[in-house]
């Protein structure tokens, strides 16, 4: 399971706090340790100087007990300071546990450590040689200070530091939790707003205004997705309704005619008549389904294959030739104009299909005797093929939707005769699909009583995905 942002934030806060406290703690500990060591050093030096003079100027064995007495009084009862005087002459010695003294590990500056039996902490020592004086040979004076109080201080400090740091980390975690809680509140609001978007309320959008800047991008993107989904959903619903409608008419005819035929005794020619009529309806169904499958394949991103570099005008002329008889009959003419030398990589059968649909559309919407013009426009990136025919103006809002499946400008033109005359309303959708399969697009225009519908094909590229 993924951890929540809150937990992650708290953990990160805790880690950061722990790191900072540790750094500061160890720095403080180091400073304290150094200060304490310096303090001990000073202490030892002071003690040393206090006694040095007295010993230095005592060279008489008879006066030595005074030194010993003085040192006895200087030595506190708790043993926090100790003195030793080492000498080759047993008359000029001082101190207990003399046997242990030799175990001092000494540094060149005279400082050293001495661990006596039965003591937890070592003694810090200062050893210096004093020159001979009168009868006294050269002696070594050792001053020792007990490290225990310093060590206790350090330990107490350390414990306090660790304890306080842990408490601090804990407080930071609490604070971090609260910060995360407050900081993530807009996210929570957003998610509850998103949750409240029901499947039935496709038009609902998330409010951007109260959100912080970081989230408004996300919300904008999310709203964009919602918008596209709403569009796709509406289109799908309309499409489903259209499909049902388009299929229902031939199906109703099939069922009705068959039922009527079977409800009485009929002769063979009568049945033949019914079968023929049924076959017409079935062919219509087949044609709708095939075209819809074609569109579905194009929607799934199927691209045109077997592209061949072809003279566009040549394929247009072939398609115009296909309509030769129909044009002749309605006294219409088709002129191919523009950049007739334009070449493009096309799948010729698809191209002719698109061209045929466009020409058929133009013929259906023109009055007898009309002049249809096919214009080829060579542009740097694309080649446009536009079919223009004089016809009724089409309102601006209908133009982009002409390429929608089953879309009809005049909703009333849905009855059977009209739909047979005009095909089943997928012709221009197929033009769009074919343009897309080649990586091109479609366009429509209606100006001054001339309707222009066309598509474009990339001038150079291979088919788009």
């Amino acid at each position: 399971m993924r951890r929540s942002i809150k937990v992650r934030l708290v953990a990160m806060f805790a880690l950061a706090a722990l790191l900072i406290f540790s750094l500061i703690g160890s720095a403080l500990y180091g400073v304290l340790q150094r200060e304490l060591a310096r303090h001990q050093h000073d202490e030892l030096n002071t003690r040393f100087l206090d006694t040095q003079y007295m010993i230095q100027h005592n060279g008489d064995p008879a006066r030595w007990p005074r030194v010993q007495a003085k040192l006895d009084t200087l030595t506190p009862a708790d043993g926090s300071f100790r003195y030793w005087v080492l000498s080759d002459d047993p008359r000029f010695q001082y101190g207990k546990d003399l046997a242990d003294i030799e175990r001092i590990d000494r540094n060149p500056d005279g400082m050293g450590n001495l661990t006596l039996r039965g003591r937890e902490y070592p003694l810090h020592t200062l050893t210096k040689a004093l020159p001979a004086f009168e009868q006294r040979p050269a002696v070594r004076l050792i001053v020792a200070v007990d490290a225990a109080p310093y060590m206790h201080t350090l330990h107490a400090f350390m414990s306090a530091l660790v304890g306080l740091s842990l408490l601090g980390v804990f407080l930071v975690m609490l604070l971090g939790y609260w910060i995360a809680l407050v900081g993530l509140r807009p996210l929570k609001q957003l998610s509850s707003a998103a949750q409240s978007l029901g499947p039935r309320t496709l038009s609902q959008r998330l409010q951007i205004a109260p959100l912080p800047g970081e989230l408004s991008d996300l919300t904008g993107a999310f709203n964009g997705v919602l918008e596209r989904m709403e569009g796709a959903y509406n289109q799908l619903e309309a499409f489903n309704a259209d499909v049902a409608h388009e299929l229902r008419t031939p199906l109703a005819n099939l069922i009705g005619e068959t039922q009527v035929a079977l409800s009485r005794q009929r002769t063979a020619p009568q049945f033949e008549e019914v079968l023929q009529s049924n076959l017409e309806e079935l062919e219509r169904l087949r044609s709708i389904i095939n075209d819809m499958l074609f569109l579905a394949r194009a929607d799934q991103g199927e691209a045109a294959t077997s592209l061949v570099r072809t003279l566009i005008a040549q394929e247009i002329n072939k398609t115009v030739e296909f309509f030769e008889f129909v044009l002749d009959e309605s006294k219409m003419t088709v002129k191919v104009a523009g950049d007739i030398d334009a070449e493009a990589s096309i799948e010729t059968s698809l191209f002719k299909r698109a061209m045929s649909n466009l020409l058929h559309n133009a013929i259906q919407h023109s009055i007898p005797g009309a002049a249809i013009v096919v214009t080829i426009t060579q542009q740097p990136a694309a080649i446009g093929i536009a079919v223009s025919n004089p016809g009724q103006p089409i309102a601006e809002n209908h133009l982009p939707r002409l390429f929608d499946r089953f879309y009809r400008v005049d909703a009333a033109r849905n009855d059977k005769d009209q739909s047979q005359l005009h095909g089943h309303g997928l012709g221009l959708a197929i033009v769009k699909a074919i343009a897309k399969m080649h990586g091109g697009g479609v366009f429509a225009d209606s100006v001054a009583g001339v309707t222009t519908i066309g598509f474009s094909i990339p001038a150079t590229t291979v088919a788009a995905q």
């Binding site: 023929q276 076959l279 087949r286 044609s287 072939k318 129909v326 299909r353 095909g423």
Partner: protein
Amino acid sequence: MKILIVEDELKTADYLCKGLTEQGCAVDVAHDGVDGQHLALQHDYDVIVLDVMLPGVDGFSVLHALREIKQTPVIMLTARDRVEDRIKGLQGGADDYLVKPFSFLELLARLQALTRRGRALEPAQLRIADLQIDLISRKAYRANVRIDLTAKEFSLLAVLARRQGEILSKTAIAELVWDMNFDSNTNVVEVAIKRLRAKIDAPFSLKLLHTIRGMGYVLEPREPREAPHHESIE
């Protein structure tokens, strides 16, 4: 002609069997891939109609097993119209490929095309009753009188005459005459047939160019109200 149909959909298998038998073919039917493969390997068929989606062994596997041994022409049938399926079928050695829903006429035409391959060249002259067509000089005569036809009208007549007695669908005519190989949903073929009929049939009592409603057109000598006539493939 001996044909094997491998198709698990009973209605489809039934009507294909009936239709092809009436065309004078000897038809065997298998309802699954195992039977189909067995029959295809055991007997020598002129052509095999093979469905892709079959219980037991699928069509591609049957085709694969068959191609190890034989080169019998195979037409694959499929409900799925995907380029990769088509490529898979054709690479596997299928000779042709039909997507459901297909028309029976189209299947007939494809079967004929497959079995016609490698036959002798067609004659230079065709004759239907008193209609005479010279394919080389591209001229047509009826009762020895020259009929004035445009180039496309002659092409249409030639296409129909080459397949006299055979019903040609509008789609097939559009493809053969204008090289438009898609359902065009236009009335181009109707108009063209009307014009051709006006020239070759109108002045004569014996009609040659007939409309078979819902199916297409046929060129043959027959009385107008006669029941649809079926010509053998062979």
